[in-house]
């Protein structure tokens, strides 16, 4: 029931399939180099069909993408490894699309989508986590450039990224939400230093990024000066919407691993653990059905606020089930495979050890919005409960307690 692209009648599924066949005819996946194929796909408007014509899309409803993806998958075409470039696809691209100039869109979107250029996100700071708007990284105007100095944290892929989306404070004398500006930053520029940030699993998925007098041309600003907070909302909104695609099978998450251990090791079972497992299984099934409900809503063009519930429930379930796994395993859980510092490119909850899962799951209720912030959002935006008295909205940023 989408109302997008009403001007011209959208191509039918058959027409879309024809476009895919045309692409495949001119670029046989079996013989075309991967990057070249992806570029051609982008140019054919089949990258993200809901993007405008000329920017990798056809101005179609989002759901039409399923037709394209299915056809291409059937033909054995390479994909753009979306998990590796998730920040670019999910956060940078929608923001560039909405706030970027046409030059910026033309420059950034194609290599972003093909994965030739990896993106990362320079938002969080040691002193500004949940309260992102309190950020203190400064950007000072100097001719046609901005000079950026500060420290960012929790930056995944920073060590592989070519570009970053960045929010920085350009005016400390106004209230905190008003003095922020949004930039695209070249991660190869002088003054950018990336250090791995080791986490309690022993690994370092993330980085700290130190910015010391990094020059950013004003042409890499996204949106107006001082409008960075509003621009960032687009980025963050897209971070949380990640439900969709296929229905998830029962026991697909880590509950499946716990259930398998239970089935294969009768000697570990106790009545108390049985009760706990059954409760967790039911909770996992409830979470799965909620995601399915949400998927059906999105497919029907009725997005709802239940996505935050899904993230929230996911974090709690992962934590509870992984805690259960260790209790079930007993002695074996006292052993941890390896604490050696490593640099994984993505999180593999299902492939890791139970101990890894237990520890890594602790991050699920922190990353991408803490469970506490999600509860605030649900209470205020969904339930309409009144906000708390705020004292930080009208005071100049520089006068706030830190």
């Amino acid at each position: 029931m989408s109302t997008e692209a009403h001007q011209a009648p959208p191509p039918s599924a058959d027409e879309l399939r024809q476009r895919v066949r045309d692409l495949l005819a001119t670029h046989d996946p079996a013989t075309t180099e991967r990057v070249e194929f992806l570029r051609a796909r982008f140019d054919a408007g089949l990258a993200w069909v809901h993007f405008p014509v000329g920017l990798g899309g056809l101005g179609l409803p989002r759901v039409s993408q399923e037709v394209v993806d299915a056809e291409l998958a059937a033909a054995g075409a390479p994909d753009n490894n979306p998990r590796r470039i998730g920040i670019g696809l999910g956060m940078a691209a929608p923001t560039i699309l909405r706030y970027g100039t046409s030059e910026q869109q033309a420059r950034f979107l194609r290599p972003l989508w093909t994965g030739e250029e990896v993106w990362c996100q320079l938002f969080s700071e040691p002193g500004a986590g949940s309260d992102l708007a309190a950020l203190g990284t400064r950007a000072v105007r100097d001719g046609d450039d901005w000079v950026v100095t500060g420290q960012k944290v929790w930056t995944s892929m920073a060590h592989e990224a070519r570009w970053a989306i960045l929010v920085a404070r350009t005016d400390p004398d106004v209230p905190k939400h008003q003095g922020i500006t949004y930039f695209v930053l070249d991660m190869t520029a002088p003054g950018v230093q990336v250090r791995p940030l080791r986490q309690l699993t022993g690994e370092a998925e993330f980085n700290e990024v130190f910015l010391d007098g990094v020059r950013v041309p004003d042409s890499q600003r996204l949106g107006a000066v001082g409008e960075g907070w509003r621009v960032a909302q687009t980025t963050l909104m897209n971070e949380r919407v990640s439900i969709g695609g296929m229905a998830e099978p029962r026991e697909a998450g880590i509950i499946g691993l716990a259930a398998r251990t239970w089935r294969e090791h009768p000697e570990l079972r106790t009545p108390g653990l049985h009760e706990r497992l059954l409760r967790l299984w039911v909770d996992a099934e409830a979470a799965r059905l909620t995601k399915e409900w949400l998927r059906q809503r999105l497919a029907a063009g009725q997005p709802g606020p239940e996505g935050s519930a899904a993230k929230f429930a996911f974090a709690r379930l992962n934590q509870q089930i992984s805690g259960f796994e260790l209790d079930l395993l007993g002695e074996q859980a006292l052993r941890y495979p390896d604490w050696t510092m490593r640099r994984p490119t993505q999180v593999d909850m299902l492939g890791g050890s139970p101990g890894f899962r237990y520890l890594r799951a602790k991050g699920n209720s922190i990353e991408g919005g803490t469970s506490e912030i999600l509860r605030n959002i649900i209470a205020e935006r969904v339930l309409g409960l009144p906000t708390e008295p705020r004292i930080d909205k009208d005071v100049p940023w520089k006068d706030l307690p830190k």
Partner: protein
């Protein structure tokens, strides 16, 4: 406890039923809600529960006649609307939301399923039109996989003798559907409430809005509906569908408990602020909303599988009763607590919801019972019996 032909971990169940509400269902909901708003506001309910007529039979007739709620899942040929249990579930939500004292569960669900199973079109039609109501004569706490009840015996001459305690919706009923044991095993009989030998004794019930009664039969004349496996299946089917629909009622209870509490906390001031602005309460209500969001998906899935005859219905209903029962109790307990003193008084509706939710949690098998049944269905067995 039943055993599962196919286990859950073979990953066969992926998409399954439509979980959303259709436009028709939205309209149905609006009609039911409007009628209940006019005739079933909670002060009316509270005033009624201590009278001699705890059920509002007039309201039930009206719901049946004006909105057709009694026969939604009954085929048109048998006098119903030819819709499905999915639509009935929407009615269950609304009746739960209003803690309406009407014989919906007993007549339009439990009895109707049983009669459809045994093919008694005449009586089904009467129930569907709301001109008569029936009750299934089992204790309200009976679980779908319970043993066939043995409290009533068939005696020579097709008369029934015995007793059944804690029967729901029987006080206003015209007909009792009575599971009984005859010489040939299980049987299901229809007994006229007005017949000789039928005695109902009202019970002071935890749930004020669904009054129970004890049934005593002394050589009461019965009409055989089914016997043997057919009787057993009819009873089990009725209780199973009932458990699915009950989850929707519980969802409605929980939704209304949350909505009422949110409204109260938005307007009530303490310490110079709306109470609803205090973060600890906000987080608890957010948790509740997350739970209700999940309960909705779970309840819709359960009734969807039942409506579709999906083989996953056994798991789905057990999951629904495991999950939604406790959620509804939590929601109504929070309703009482977060209303402070006023929620503890008789004159505030919170207790009607609390009592209904707690009784519903025991009805048609407790959450604990359904989790135990689930263990067999999904191949998560308990401790080996050797110890």
């Amino acid at each position: 406890m039943s055993t599962a032909p196919s286990t859950a971990h073979d990953h066969t169940h992926t998409a399954g039923p439509d979980l959303l509400y259709s436009e028709v269902e939205d309209e149905l909901r609006a009609s039911v809600r409007a009628l209940l708003a006019d005739h079933c506001a909670w002060p009316t309910v509270l005033a009624r529960v201590e009278t001699d007529e705890p059920y509002d039979v007039g309201l039930w007739r009206r719901l049946a006649a004006e909105v057709g709620v009694a026969g939604l899942a009954v085929p048109e040929a048998e006098g119903g609307a030819g819709a499905s249990w999915r639509e009935v579930a929407v009615v269950a939500e609304e009746l739960g939301r209003a803690v309406a004292p009407v014989p919906f569960l007993g007549s339009a669900v439990l009895s109707t399923v049983a009669l459809l199973a045994v093919g008694d079109s005449a009586l089904v039609g009467d129930l569907a039109s709301g001109t008569r109501t029936a009750a299934l004569a089992v204790p309200l706490s009976t679980a779908p996989d319970a043993a066939f009840p043995g409290g009533v015996r068939v005696e020579p001459g097709e008369v029934l003798t015995g007793a059944v305690t804690s029967v729901a919706d029987v006080l206003p009923a015209d007909v009792l559907l009575v599971p009984a044991l005859g010489e040939a095993g299980p049987a299901l009989y229809a007994v006229d409430r007005a017949a000789e030998g039928v005695t109902l004794t009202g019970v002071s019930s935890l749930d004020l809005t669904r009054r129970l009664a004890d049934v005593t039969l002394r050589a009461a004349p019965g009409r055989l509906l089914a016997s043997g496996t057919a009787a057993r299946d009819a009873l089990r089917g009725a209780l199973h569908t009932g458990a699915a629909l009950l989850a929707s009622e519980q969802l409605g209870l929980a939704e209304q408990a949350l909505a009422t509490t949110v409204d109260y906390l938005r307007t009530r001031h303490q310490f110079g602020r709306p109470v609803g602005s205090f973060q600890a309460l906000k987080h608890r209500l957010a948790d509740l909303w997350v739970g209700i969001t999940q309960a909705r998906a779970v309840a819709r899935y359960a009734v969807g599988t039942v409506a579709d005859g999906d083989p996953d219905a056994g798991v789905a209903v057990a999951v629904a009763q495991s999950f939604v029962s406790e959620l509804a109790v939590l929601a109504t307990e929070e309703m009482v607590q977060l209303h402070g003193g006023v929620g503890f008084t008789w004159e505030h509706p919170a207790h009607l919801y609390l009592k209904r939710a707690k009784a519903d949690a025991i009805a048609l098998g407790s959450a604990d019972h359904h989790r135990a049944s689930l263990a067999g269905l999904i191949d998560l067995p308990g401790v080996p019996a050797v110890r």
